[in-house]
Symmetry: C2
């Protein structure tokens, strides 16, 4: 099987790693000359790092399956799946999809990594729009496996199932976003948290570093293992409806009091920036990013173990 | 050092484990006869489970430091810190704090595990209110170390620092909630996510199991390692303010479109319950809860390793 990866920024490279890890051949293309070639070395490095924590069995073989194409048509040749990850701009995506639809083999699905633009805004005029669909990954795709498959009104159910099947076959976790909605699901949940967090800092309720501590030392630990509904289901003797009956009034009252719909205050943003620089000085940011990526790999490895049959799930 | 743990439900037992793990003696008391004695065995079991993943060095010694008291005054004798974890009811807490303040040694801080009631609603009339303060843990306290220390208007800064010092000394992560606000911080962030999640299911945007998948296979992985502000800071070339300048307008526009202030729809609640029972049948819930607790221990162990100096942070 061969994947065509169009656009080789962080997201495109993550897709390349995910397909190569699963045994696929991968062709990379980027509109900026040289970008695809230079992506090869970071793909190889990431595969090596993942092998070190047991996430890839044979990193050299995986890396050898990834090649850079000089021309777009060459990158699309003999592909079984194509994924677009160009900049988040409806005009750019519309133009790229016109080319992809023209040159990709007949019937091959073409996914878009669009993180906020719904498919109707850039796919509706594409002749082969039936095989072009939003498939929004988390960032980075090879370490956070969810992909939001977000059909537009014209898509057939069977096509959605087919795309989900491809993604699941390489170890990603496809979910279907059934309506064209701003931010899909992932970014809406993230926005709810971020906006409330900014509002709390704006009101002087909590220091930014302490807010981050609340997340990473409580809620985030739980949510790394189970989503909000399962969490609630397991926290009442008779399950989710019992939980809703006991505590629903508190959630609904508090929901009316939250700050998620408010504008961000400049003074709060400055307070957060100042706090971040105290916690991680500018010169230490690169090292912290490498720590984050290694930590995500270790976490993914732990979760694979916990979710295997021997892990008790 | 000795801690008095008042109320021996899940939260009180978690506190007992946290203090005993740190080398403190612990006295348990519960208003229900026999409850404190029966808590001893679950404390011992949990300490053994934690030892198995390296979170406790000597579980038998830790368990032997925990004893059940017959009378409240006996549980408070010779304590250096007292933590109340009785039911979430202002009248009950007010009554218990009257007794605790009367019988606890002079000057010993008394924390309340109140998860939603602010201190002014049950502490303001207590003669020794200066030493009585909300110290709200996550659940369970021994596996999710954040404690929200939420002073009331009358509290001295030095006292807040003292309480945070005690909690930090046993390995918890105290944060200060500087204003008396509904839900403190943790439950407000949780409510933002839960209410949006319920709203998305109500609109048929996503299936409940898929929403849980989005959390545990993307956002939750990130948030287990770093909070929202650090996440944003590391995701733009020039830090948090750069991130805010690039993407702030998207967050603010989406924030106005979220469902966090809406009432929960009954049909959505039923859809979630039905989904949960397909994923985890009633008979499998107990096993899943044990899996969750073991998984949290493994995750805490991994995070301890990642956050040690050798872990690269």
């Amino acid at each position: 099987m061969r994947a065509g990866i169009i656009g080789t920024g962080l997201i495109g490279r993550g897709w390349a790693i995910a397909f190569a890890r699963a045994g696929w051949d991968v062709s990379l293309w980027d509109r900026e000359p040289g970008a695809a070639v230079s992506a090869l070395s970071s793909v190889k490095t990431a595969l090596g790092d993942m092998a070190a924590v047991g996430l890839v069995a044979n990193p050299d073989a995986a890396a050898s399956r990834v090649r850079a194409a000089d021309r777009l048509a060459e990158a699309l040749q003999d592909t079984d799946y194509v994924q677009e990850s160009v900049p988040e701009d409806a005009d750019i995506k519309r133009g790229v999809f016109g080319l992809l639809d023209r040159h990709a083999p007949d019937g091959v699905p073409i996914g878009s990594s669009s993180s906020s633009i719904v498919g109707s805004r850039f796919l509706s005029e594409i002749p082969g729009r039936d095989r072009c669909i939003v498939a929004h990954p988390a960032n980075p795709p090879h370490l956070m496996p969810v992909v939001e498959v977000a059909p537009s009104p014209w898509h057939a159910d069977a096509f959605v199932v087919e795309v989900c099947g491809v993604l699941a076959s390489i170890g990603q976790v496809p979910v279907v976003v059934r309506k064209e909605i701003e931010g899909f699901v992932m970014n809406r949940l993230q926005t709810a948290v971020v906006n409330e967090a900014v509002g709390l800092v704006a009101r002087g309720v909590i220091d930014p570093a302490d807010l981050d501590a609340v997340m990473k030392h409580s809620l985030g630990l739980r949510w790394a293992l189970m989503g909000p509904f399962e969490t609630m289901d397991l926290n009442a003797p008779d399950g989710f409806l019992d939980y809703a009956a006991r505590y629903g009034h508190l959630y609904q009252a508090m929901g009316r009091d939250l700050h998620v719909g408010e504008a961000w205050q400049d003074h709060a943003l400055q307070t957060i920036e100042d706090s971040r620089r105290r916690e991680t000085p500018r010169a230490a940011v690169g090292e912290r990013m490498r720590w984050r990526d290694r930590a995500l790999m270790r976490l993914m490895s732990l979760k694979n173990e916990l979710e295997s049959p021997a892990g008790g799930n």
